[in-house]
């Protein structure tokens, strides 16, 4: 007797099963957000340490009041103008002699910052200010540093700082002793020293 072939399995319900699984994963998925503005907190203050003397002209005061008003150097400002003002301040290069800044392209106003290494942006928040506003202000200030770093990096290495940093971060882990990697690291360090991110989130203000 000839052997009969095995009967074909009905695969019609396969789609249903797959749909069921699909829906389960659709519902449970939360695409994790894994990006953010990184920042560094200052170490715990030593009571005995005398406060560092910072000249008024090297300080860029940004204040967010409780009704989300932006005050820059005690004058109200629209948030869209903040980056430009910060760039002008950091890149001013008004210093003379040993404080001179050869690569700055700013207005060289003697009333504004000496050089990027000395320029400090101080961000002060009222406790009642909303977080969304705070993030936007921080974002705009960080953008000012990125703009300047990109510009300097373009001039020196013909590649933006952001691209360099991305390349640095995504370097394969098994190839981190290569000379190219170290060169990249040095370049990033160099740019960071030209425009250090001196963004100070000051001590909390008393509510009031």
């Amino acid at each position: 007797m000839a052997r009969r072939g095995a009967p074909e399995v009905n695969a019609g319900s396969m789609a249903d099963i797959a749909f069921l699984l699909l829906i389960f994963f659709l519902v449970t998925t939360t695409i994790e957000i894994d990006s953010g503005i990184s920042s560094k907190l200052p170490p715990e203050m030593d009571e005995e340490q005398p406060p560092v003397d910072i000249k008024e002209k090297n300080l860029f005061q940004v204040l967010v009041s409780k009704d989300n008003q932006l005050l820059v150097e005690e004058k109200p400002m629209e948030i869209k103008d903040l980056t430009e003002a910060a760039v002008a301040f950091i890149d001013n290069g008004g210093g003379l002699d040993k404080n001179a800044c050869a690569y700055c392209q700013g207005a060289k106003d003697p009333e504004s910052s000496d050089k990027p290494q000395k320029a400090i942006i101080s961000l002060v928040n009222d406790r009642q200010a909303s977080y969304r506003y705070y993030v936007t202000v921080t974002n705009e200030l960080v953008r000012a540093y990125t703009i300047l770093r990109n510009r300097e990096s373009m001039r020196k290495f013909n590649e933006t700082y952001e691209d360099m940093y991305l390349r640095f971060k995504e370097w394969p882990a098994d190839d981190q002793d290569s000379p190219e990697y170290e060169e990249l690291e040095d370049r990033i360090k160099e740019i960071r020293e030209l425009y250090p991110r001196n963004l100070s989130e000051a001590e909390p203000q008393k509510a009031g």
Binding site: A15, I79, Q128, S130, V135, T136, N139
Partner: protein
């Protein structure tokens, strides 16, 4: 002559659904791979604001999450409706941040302990006050590397 007029009855032939399972499986695999099972159950509202000056965070094993926001509707009876801190999957007070961070740090392998990053997931509608307190606690705990975790997007959307 009648070579092209075989199917004269007018009915459309049934579309073969044989490849449907394949398509669904493809989608299924995509979602299976993209899914991260959330390990903290959220007891607070947590809509992150957007920003564009973002960097990728550290690997997951170097991250410590701190959530800030209003308790969600089910928990408002118990915790009120002002901003609170959530550590792990329970709502805690700001004072507990210090111990929480230190515990998390000592749970990490020793060689990455000083690369620990605190990811602050703060609801966009909350006030800066609680965040400031948390940051003071983090300074005390010497956890200085932080990140304001945000969505990627136009930051001006936040303030409109």
């Amino acid at each position: 002559m009648s070579k092209f007029k075989k199917n004269k009855s007018g009915d459309l032939p049934a579309i073969s659904t044989a490849s449907l399972p394949d398509i669904v499986f493809m989608l299924l695999f995509f979602f299976m791979v993209a899914t991260v099972m959330r390990d903290d159950e959220m007891k607070i509202d947590n809509n992150l604001p957007s920003a564009n000056q973002v960097e990728k965070l550290e690997d997951k094993n170097k991250l410590v999450n701190i959530y800030i926001g209003k308790p969600s509707a089910a928990y408002q009876q118990q915790f009120g409706s002002s901003d609170v801190v959530q550590l792990g999957d329970k709502i805690a007070s700001v004072k507990e941040v210090f111990n929480y961070v230190n515990t998390k740090r000592s749970d990490m392998p020793e060689d990455i302990q000083n690369e620990m990053m605190v990811s602050l997931k703060v609801d966009e509608d909350s006030k800066v006050g609680v965040l400031t307190d948390v940051k003071q606690e983090l300074r005390k705990a010497n956890a200085l590397k932080i990140s304001y975790t945000t969505k990627q997007g136009d930051p001006m959307r936040n303030v409109r």
